[in-house]
């Protein structure tokens, strides 16, 4: 069954597959990946509302010639915690990763507090620590403001 549906997307030789993205979040995942930074020879395939046994419906993003950085993984963890990552080399799945909540989230989110020192042009990156794991709640290390709605505070 899966294979029939997967045929909608061309196989890739080298790259990364981000599967099991919560339905509706594929475009946010693309935002995290920052596609402008990607080479022009890289095909990006997006499947939205794919049937899934585990999630009901899910989204999938496949990016050619790209490997995710630690920062990508941190950001994915915040907005698509169910995502699984497969690294494709020569058409085969070579490695798998699950996303995991890091101790500190740096440079990914903007502090929701407009007068936070991290929002007024100081030469520093935003930084959050984990205040609570369930539900995931981050706390700005500067102003101590808490964030739960990560989607609204993604940078860029």
């Amino acid at each position: 069954m899966g294979t029939v549906r997967e045929l909608k997307i061309q196989p890739i030789r080298n790259g990364t597959v981000i599967d099991h993205i919560p339905n509706g979040r594929a475009l946010d995942v693309l935002r995290i990946l920052g596609l402008r930074a990607l080479g022009s020879d890289s095909t990006v395939s997006v499947a939205i509302r794919v049937r899934s046994d585990k999630l009901g419906y899910k989204d999938i993003v496949k990016v050619e010639n790209m490997e995710l950085t630690a920062r990508h993984l941190d950001a994915l963890c915040l907005i698509a915690p169910s995502a699984t990552i497969s690294i494709i080399r020569d058409f085969k799945v070579r490695d798998k990763r699950v996303v995991d909540l890091p101790a500190a989230v740096t440079g990914i989110l903007t502090c929701p507090n407009p007068s936070c020192i991290s929002n007024v042009g100081e030469p520093i990156e935003s930084e959050f620590e984990v205040a609570r794991r369930r539900p995931v709640t981050l706390r700005c290390v500067y102003c101590e403001r808490q964030v739960v709605d990560f989607l609204h505070h993604l940078r860029g």
């Binding site: 502090c111 507090n113 007068s115 936070c116 020192i117 991290s118 007024v120 042009g121 100081e122 030469p123 520093i124 700005c140 290390v141 500067y142 102003c143 101590e144 403001r145 808490q146």
Partner: protein
């Protein structure tokens, strides 16, 4: 465990044991703050008072604290107006100030400024208020006042009254009281209640908290009534301010049902929230609270600079 070299940015950074240590040191500093004993324990030391937002009381009490211990201070009052910054980042300013003195006391309009300063400076940074954020030394003054009134901080009943949304002192005070297992009642005008995350933290830290509509009911079995003024400068909408201005006032009648031991506290300046008729009564703890600002800040300077007080 030593506080030498430590930054005091948020009450969150301090354990209960460390708070107890600071309060004990502050008690020992009282005769020095009164001028009946003297000490040169900070002689040769310079405390930089970097005030990027006006605050006379906090600045002067730190200044007095440094001088009472034989130290000196460098003051930058309202540095936003001075030629010091000229659009320079706080990051750069602090790096420079760290070369001018042995400790930096910072007041700044942006929340998190003191944390940034502490990260950048290799000298201890004491947060003297960062916007609507933290004001840990005020909290320590409040705790010292309560401790002095009751001989303990454990298990007291505290009412917080006023602008609990903007009042930064009550946020850190609530958190600190929670560590000591206090039962907190909050009374505030509509729209100015304590932010839910502060209330959550109180519970997580082992305190108890409940909102109360009636002040008379809240004070009935309370030990402390902590009053704050409306933070006019933090209202974005003047109409919203006008709506709640003057909506609460504590006078003898309001405290009729309270226990004899109840004391009234206020971080001052007051703007009509407490009737002057209370000033001469044993309930008025706010002038003592203002005095204790000096020994508490002496204790902090002594501990972060020398690891001890005389």
């Amino acid at each position: 465990m030593s506080l030498k070299g430590r930054d005091i940015v948020s009450i969150r950074d301090l354990s209960r044991e460390e708070i107890d240590e600071i309060l004990a040191a502050a008690r020992r500093m009282i005769p020095y703050a009164e001028g009946t004993r003297s000490s040169g324990s900070l002689s040769g030391r310079i405390v930089v008072l970097a005030f990027f937002e006006p605050s006379t009381r906090t600045r002067l009490s730190f200044d007095a604290a440094a001088q009472r211990l034989g130290g000196r201070s460098l003051t930058i009052a309202d540095a936003s107006e001075s030629s010091l910054r000229k659009g320079e980042s706080l990051n750069d300013t602090i790096r420079m100030l760290a070369h001018y003195g042995d400790a930096i006391v910072l007041r700044h309009p942006n929340e998190g400024a003191a944390r940034l300063a502490a990260m950048v400076s290799d000298r201890p940074v004491l947060n003297a208020g960062d916007g609507a954020g933290q004001h840990p030394t005020q909290t320590l003054v409040d705790l010292a006042t309560i401790r002095e009134s009751f001989g303990t901080l454990a298990g007291l009943r505290i009412v917080l009254l006023g602008d609990l949304r903007h009042g930064r002192t009550v946020h850190s005070l609530a958190r600190a009281l929670a560590i000591y297992g206090s039962a907190i009642r909050t009374v505030s005008p509509p729209g100015l209640s304590l932010p839910p995350e502060v209330a959550e933290q109180v519970v997580e830290l082992g305190g108890e908290i409940q909102e109360e509509a009636s002040l008379a009911k809240a004070v009935r079995d309370a030990d402390v009534l902590y009053v704050t003024r409306l933070q006019k400068e933090r209202f974005l909408d003047p109409a919203e301010y006008a709506q709640v201005a003057g909506s609460y006032r504590v006078d003898a009648a309001a405290l009729q049902g309270a226990r004899d031991r109840l004391v009234v506290m206020h971080p001052l300046p007051r703007t009509g929230e407490i009737a002057p008729e209370l000033d001469a009564t044993p309930r008025a703890a706010y002038f003592r609270q203002a005095f204790l600002a000096v020994p508490v800040r002496m204790a902090l300077l002594g501990l972060v600079l020398n690891g001890k007080v005389p």
